[in-house]
């Protein structure tokens, strides 16, 4: 928990926002880019996200969830709002996530994450895509059912199973946790 960081953020300490950016910008950018499918738009969304965080830090309540969950909700909602613009609908026709994520350049996958990426690969693709739609893209279970043609009852059952699998792979006692902590430390010390 980042009690001290949260306190400084609520007190409008700029170094707190800087630290928050170092800790979470990569994870948030990964999510945002998957939703908006455009590096330019994703950067704008990430900027808007951190400005909203700065402006609304007083509304974060640690009793209701982790700081990252709050940040992710803001980032996801900002990204979904951005997809509703006419410009986005035009761009969506010309690009796809595969071309974005695999193409070289500034927006390439962080090589530090390659170790844990293998852990992600251990998740069954059908559970992974279900979590991605819901957790990263903000779909409701009903929307998932509509989009994929899978009955709503099956979606609910699969989501329960997917969450169990996710917690097995990324749970606190897993080695992946160690890798992630090491990574976070490296990021913080950069």
């Amino acid at each position: 928990m980042h009690t001290e960081l949260i306190l400084r953020l609520k007190q409008q300490d700029r170094t707190a926002l800087s630290q928050l950016y170092d800790l979470y910008s990569s994870a948030l950018y990964g999510v945002v880019l998957r939703i908006v499918l455009s590096p330019e738009l994703a950067q704008q969304v990430l900027q808007d996200t951190f400005l909203k965080v700065w402006k609304n830090s007083a509304s974060y309540d640690s009793a209701k969830g982790r700081l990252f969950t709050w940040l992710l909700n803001i980032a996801r909602n900002t990204a979904i709002d951005a997809t509703r613009t006419a410009h986005f609908r035009y761009k969506q026709k010309t690009e796809s996530l595969d071309t974005l994520v695999s193409r070289p350049g500034n927006d390439s996958i962080n090589p530090d994450h390659l170790g844990v990426r293998e852990a992600v690969e251990t998740l069954d693709e059908k559970y992974k895509s279900l979590i991605d739609l819901i957790y990263f893209k903000g779909y409701t279970q009903e929307e998932v059912a509509e989009e994929t043609g899978i009955p709503i009852g099956t979606v609910k059952t699969r989501l329960r199973y997917a969450m169990n699998e996710l917690r097995k792979v990324f749970g606190e006692t897993n080695t992946v946790a160690f890798l992630l902590v090491a990574e976070a430390l490296r990021n913080a010390l950069k």
Binding site: A27, Q43, K55, M163, F170
Partner: protein, 257 residues
């Protein structure tokens, strides 16, 4: 719902994934506040999701952070949290209400005071009228008593300039306690501007000044001082509003019969 059923209900997972209805969210937040094990379980779910997100992180362009930090100065941040703002607004609203109430009651009070002052003036005026009425009633009673008195005499004054004019009576009673002469002034002929009427008593053959006549007297009767030795009465026309020592032009004259 008991804590074990709650932990297995899937509500915490739905909460972490932002899939709850508002009612479910309220229920979860109540359970979180009440049960530390619910809080721990949510923490564990969120941590797994956070690690999953981290595992798929993509580093944004290096200059983005500087751009964001520069933008911070342009963002206006409320100086106090929303709860304090609400209190402040309630305080401000209360102050405005109190002020309005104070102005209203102040205005009301000033109105009341004005009305009170008006009412007090009116009371004073009415009191004076009551006293005047009392005086007037007493005067009328004195007249009635005088006229009813067996010993009261009437002297008829005839108009010596126009003998066909209405005579004027003087009622007097020089024997009882009501020693006064009462003149029926209402029937005296109206005088032109600059001419005044004066009342006389004839004592030992000589006219004695009794006072000026006021034809506007409310009840048409005017009282004059007691003159027990009067043998007759007269009214003269004068040029001086204060009268003269001797009658200038005698208008009315009457002797005791």
């Amino acid at each position: 719902m008991d804590i074990q059923s709650f932990l297995q209900s899937g509500l915490l997972e739905a909460y972490a994934l932002a899939q709850c209805t508002p009612a479910e969210r309220t229920q979860v937040e109540e359970m979180l506040a009440q049960y530390p094990e619910a809080r721990a379980e949510l923490e564990s779910i969120e941590l797994a999701l956070e690690r999953y997100a981290n595992a798929q992180a993509i580093t944004p362009p290096a200059d983005l952070k500087d751009r964001i930090m520069r933008e911070l100065d342009r963002v206006e941040v409320p100086m106090t949290p929303p709860a304090d703002n609400l209190l402040l607004r309630i305080f401000q609203a209360s102050t405005v209400l109190l002020l309005a109430a104070a102005i209203y009651f102040g205005y009301q009070q000033s109105q009341t005071q004005t009305q009170l002052a008006g009412a007090q003036n009116r009371i004073t005026e009415l009191e004076k009228q009551v006293v005047d009425c009392g005086t007037s009633v007493n005067a009328e009673r004195a007249i009635v008593r005088l006229l009813h008195d067996q010993k009261t005499k009437a002297v008829r004054m005839g108009n010596i300039i126009d003998t066909s004019a209405t005579p004027v009576y003087v009622f007097h009673n020089f024997e009882s306690g009501n020693c006064t002469a009462l003149v029926d002034v209402s029937v005296l002929p109206k005088q032109p501007a600059g001419k005044y009427l004066q009342f006389w008593a004839l004592v030992d053959g000589v006219p004695k000044e009794m006072g000026m006549i006021d034809t506007t007297s409310a009840n048409g009767l005017q009282s004059f001082p007691c003159e027990p030795k009067a043998a007759g009465f007269a009214v003269s026309i004068e040029d001086d509003p204060n009268g003269s020592r001797k009658p200038t032009t005698v208008l009315m004259l009457g002797m005791q019969g």
